[in-house]
């Protein structure tokens, strides 16, 4: 958490400038590397830009982005809809939570790729299988964090609520759930990251489509400029989604700011 370390004095503009500066530096390094390593391996930034423009105008890139986003956001949304209520119910009912948590942790620790053959057998190679692979990756961190957030309710606040006469349901609504929001958002962020990874995994292992499909195609045929375009596109999607969630988190936890 950056706010805990007194970074609040750094203005957003400074941060933006620093990030931009690093970007420029990275681009320069990339360029330098492309000049000195064999051309076939690392394309230069202009080559990559040209490839991006070409892929965009041909419609390959927008199409692949669309396909991948449907898989990614669809699977992530399904995971959220399932995981948040499950985590809340697990936290609210102690026995249920203690019963399920072992299995949840076990499933979370199993490499999800291990399930892909099974998923293909059951769901085939189409969108259902892809959505499920993304779902499977994103669901566990969201469940685990939501559950932890509900379990770690502030005991002092709960006692305070009891002392003003609040009953279980009201304590849960007014104290426990809002207190779990930061945990849930952390879970969503981790889930979003793993979901993106699993999107590519799904597109590589099932019917080859979307950005993952292009990645395989250009990687296998050594079209490195195009390949770089796909990698950068995936990175950009990751940044946009996690930043959006960070923004949401900031909006929902505005009360932690010490000044208006």
């Amino acid at each position: 958490m950056d706010r805990a370390y007194g970074n609040r004095r750094t203005s957003p503009l400074t941060v933006a400038m620093a990030r931009l500066g690093l970007l420029v530096l990275l681009l320069a390094l990339w360029w330098l590397a492309s000049e000195h390593v064999s051309r076939n391996l690392i394309p230069s930034p202009p080559e990559t830009a040209n490839a991006a423009l070409r892929l965009w105008l041909e419609g390959k890139l927008p199409g692949a982005i669309g396909t991948s986003l449907i898989t990614y956001l669809g699977g992530f949304a399904l995971a959220t809809v399932a995981a948040v209520p499950l985590g809340i119910v697990m936290g609210a009912f102690g026995l249920l939570g203690r019963t399920l948590e072992v299995y949840v942790y076990a499933l979370a620790a199993t490499p999800r790729v291990a399930f892909i053959p099974l998923i293909i057998v059951v769901l085939g190679l189409g969108i259902e299988a892809k959505l499920f692979v993304v779902f499977l990756g994103a669901v566990m961190p969201i469940v685990i964090n939501t559950y932890a957030g509900v379990r770690q309710a502030d005991a002092d606040l709960v006692e305070m609520a009891r002392s003003v006469g609040a009953r279980r349901a009201r304590i849960f609504r007014a104290i426990v759930l809002p207190g779990a929001v930061p945990y849930i958002l952390t879970g969503l962020r981790i889930g979003a990251t793993i979901g993106l990874i699993n999107t590519v995994v799904a597109e590589l292992y099932t019917a080859v489509t979307g950005l993952g499909g292009l990645l395989a195609l250009y990687g296998n045929t050594f079209r490195m400029a195009e390949y770089f375009v796909i990698v950068l596109t995936l990175a950009a999607i990751g940044v946009v989604v996690t930043e959006a969630l960070r923004l949401l988190e900031r909006r929902l936890t505005h009360w932690t700011k010490p000044t208006h």
Partner: protein
């Protein structure tokens, strides 16, 4: 709960508190057994302001929780007015820490004590605003706790304890964490608010001066028992400055302090059962 909850006269006063042979045991660790309250009998008449002093871990906080109805005694009976203790806005509680809800504004923190109560929205709103003005937080209603100083946070907690017009007010070292100046101001404000509505008060403190300034009666506790119990015959209103000049004040202070000193020295274990130990167990068995 509060039977006189309307906008009646200011002096609708408190309810009496009675403890009859009350005991409470805690099991802080596997083989440990602490008699937090050991066969205590106590009668507090309505509207009396009682200060409870004693070394850490002597059962003061447990006593307040029993009176609030947050925990049940193992044996004996607690009676508030003519019913058993039940948590609610009729009994105001201030804990050692402010326990404000960080994601709620000052206004909504105070209002939390009224939610689920009999008042409608407009009455509730009016009550909250009045209470905020009374504790001097009118301008801060829309701020969040993290934006306030420690003293102001205590005021919010005080307002939350008072907003239900409680006839019993329980305060567990509420001003212990404040600096000396803020503390004196809060004490004066508390006395002013108390003389307004006259709830029955149990006020736990470590400070002999605080006890003598605020209370009609001082109870000294040690190892779960009431060891001393005497009245404070000092004229009211007492302000911090002139109370200390009275001769009786000095005498009382000496008497009280020597008793507490003896207690602490005689029982080195009491320091061991300090804050966060046996004094405030999370799950009483």
């Amino acid at each position: 709960m509060g039977d006189t909850n309307g906008d009646g006269p200011a002096h609708n006063g408190g309810r009496s508190i009675s403890l009859r042979r009350v005991s409470k045991v805690f099991l802080p660790a596997a083989n440990a057994r602490v008699k937090a309250i050991d066969d205590v009998s106590l009668l507090v008449p309505a509207c009396q302001f009682v200060a409870i002093v004693g070394p850490s871990g002597c059962g003061k906080s447990t006593l307040l929780r029993l009176v609030d109805g947050l925990i049940m005694p193992d044996s004996g009976a607690v009676t508030i007015g003519n019913s058993g203790p039940a948590p609610g806005p009729g009994i105001g509680m201030m804990f050692q820490t402010v326990r404000l809800i960080p994601w709620r504004t000052v206004r909504d923190n105070v209002g939390f004590a009224l939610e689920g109560g009999p008042l409608d929205r407009a009455e509730r709103k009016a009550r909250i605003e009045t209470q905020l003005l009374q504790v001097g937080l009118g301008r801060w209603a829309d701020h969040y706790p993290a934006q306030l100083s420690g003293g102001m946070q205590q005021r919010v907690a005080l307002a939350r304890a008072l907003v239900g017009r409680p006839d019993v007010l329980l305060m567990d070292e509420p001003f212990a964490s404040l600096d000396a100046q803020t503390r004196e101001l809060m004490q004066e404000d508390l006395l002013a608010l108390w003389s307004n509505h006259r709830p029955t008060v149990l006020f736990v403190t470590h400070s002999v001066d605080e006890a003598l300034l605020l209370a009609d009666r001082v109870i000294v506790m040690g190892r779960g028992k009431v060891l001393e119990d005497f009245l404070v015959h000092l004229p009211r209103p007492r302000t911090t400055a002139d109370a200390r000049q009275a001769r009786t004040y000095g005498q009382l202070r000496d008497r009280l302090w020597s008793r507490i000193r003896a207690l602490v020295l005689a029982d080195p274990e009491s320091a061991f059962f300090g804050r966060g130990g046996a004094q405030e167990p999370k799950r009483p068995q």
